[in-house]
């Protein structure tokens, strides 16, 4: 392993996993597999506990800002674990000279996001550092949720089995492209807006009606490709997906074609992967499509019977190839 941290260690792919395994897992006595939220037994009840740091550049982008992004991200990490999000703590590292007006806008959008999602921001911290010691504003949020009893299997994918269907709730890549487009970029402009959204209500609607959701994860850094490869590692099974089933908006597609990006590797902030028992997949699809955050939901593939821990993609023209774990980063500081 390299002697210094490189920007690729933050990509959410192979290098990030290697770093976490090398530096943090043993030190902290963490239990594998690592999941979006830690599930803690608290005097007979289960709590989900999660934390995330947000360093997105720029602070404001079409469809959101670093503040509501932070709140959505934490709510989503709790929700995909099967928990009902309840409380958030938020700490701020602010660069000297950052405009108060902007900080207020960020804070107000966090409050609105939390209120709409039925979640309380209950505590926090503020630090100011000298100019040049952090880039404008960094936010770390931690969240607690209450796990409905019996749902502990969700995070660890224990019930995932061959022929389970893979469902996502809409087009991929919008957040990454919106953020990239918002940088003071000489080469292109795009109408794409971030998909940043709290998914707790969408997920609750599905969980209330359908007992055979076997796994969920939100599709942030590393995109769909990272999550699918993590899932094969957790289950030991293979996955087959169909490229033509994955929704991608035209302007995202155009930019990806031009710059050589693959939308399956791009970060999203309002997208979830659900792995659902075959018999219930159409029902889940219908429920998702009836919700405003799931109108373009699609079944994109299934769990394969082979124990080969490989993600195979059937290309849009009928060919077959591997969809590997992302190795470096396609785009820096998207989340």
């Amino acid at each position: 392993m390299a002697e210094y941290i490189s920007i690729n260690h933050g990509s959410g792919g192979k290098l990030t996993h290697a770093l976490i395994n090398r530096v943090f897992v043993d030190s902290f006595g963490l239990k594998l597999p690592l999941t979006d939220s830690a599930i803690l037994d608290c005097k007979g009840s289960s709590l989900a506990y999660t934390t995330d740091a947000y360093v997105v550049d720029p602070i404001f982008f079409p469809g959101g800002n670093i503040g509501n992004l932070a709140v959505c991200g934490t709510i989503n990490d709790l929700s995909v674990s099967g928990a009902v999000p309840a409380f958030i703590a938020a700490s701020f590292i602010i660069e000297e000279g950052f405009p108060l007006k902007d900080l207020t806008l960020v804070s107000e959008s966090m409050a609105r996001e939390a209120l709409d999602a039925g979640v309380k921001i209950v505590t926090g911290d503020t630090k100011v550092v000298e100019k040049g010691k952090c880039d404008k504003l960094f936010i770390t949020t931690s969240g607690i949720g209450f796990l409905r009893s019996g749902l502990e299997y969700l995070s660890e994918a224990r019930l995932v089995k061959p022929s389970d269907k893979l469902i996502i709730n809409g087009p991929l890549g919008n957040h990454s492209i919106a953020v990239l487009g918002a940088r003071n970029n000489l080469s292109f402009t795009t109408p794409v807006t971030s998909d940043c959204a709290s998914l707790n209500e969408l997920i609750r609607t599905v969980m209330d009606s359908c007992p055979s959701v076997h796994f969920m994860r939100d599709l942030t850094r590393g995109g769909l490709a990272a999550v699918l490869n993590e899932l094969t590692a957790m289950t030991g099974l293979g996955i087959v997906i169909s490229e033509s089933s994955v929704p991608v908006d035209d302007p995202v597609r155009g930019l990806c074609e031009m710059l050589g990006f693959d939308p399956l590797y791009l970060a999203n902030e309002g997208k979830v992967l659900m792995v659902v028992g075959d018999d219930d997949s159409e029902k889940v699809l219908e429920i998702l499509r009836a919700h405003h955050l799931g109108k373009q939901s699609a079944i994109i593939g299934e769990i394969a019977p082979e124990k080969n821990k490989t993600v195979i993609i059937q290309t849009s023209v009928g060919g077959k190839r591997i969809l590997d774990m992302p190795s470096g980063q396609q785009l820096p500081r998207i989340c």
Binding site: S187, T190, P191, V192, D250, P251, L255
Partner: protein, 77 residues
């Protein structure tokens, strides 16, 4: 590195054009092409339009593909 895709000319100002790839807009230098108009399709590579896409040749290619199929199928016993 040879990455180059067909894009549509949206507007032209002097030697620079705004082009669209599925709705995302890029800047393209027109220094290598004459007679380009709005609505034309060009190949965009590394910030420059390197050739105009010929609509008739594109249609001809599709037609040739279909002809290839038919001629081969006719060879079958």
């Amino acid at each position: 590195m040879c990455l180059s895709i067909p894009v549509r000319i949206v507007s032209i100002e002097g030697k620079m054009a705004e082009v669209s790839a599925g709705g995302t807009l890029f800047k393209a230098g027109l220094h290598m092409l004459d007679g380009i108009e709005e609505g034309d399709y060009v190949l965009l590579h590394a910030g420059f339009a390197i050739q105009k896409i010929s609509k008739s040749d594109a249609e001809e290619t599709i037609r040739l593909l279909e002809e290839m199929e038919n001629s081969r199928l006719n060879d079958l016993p």
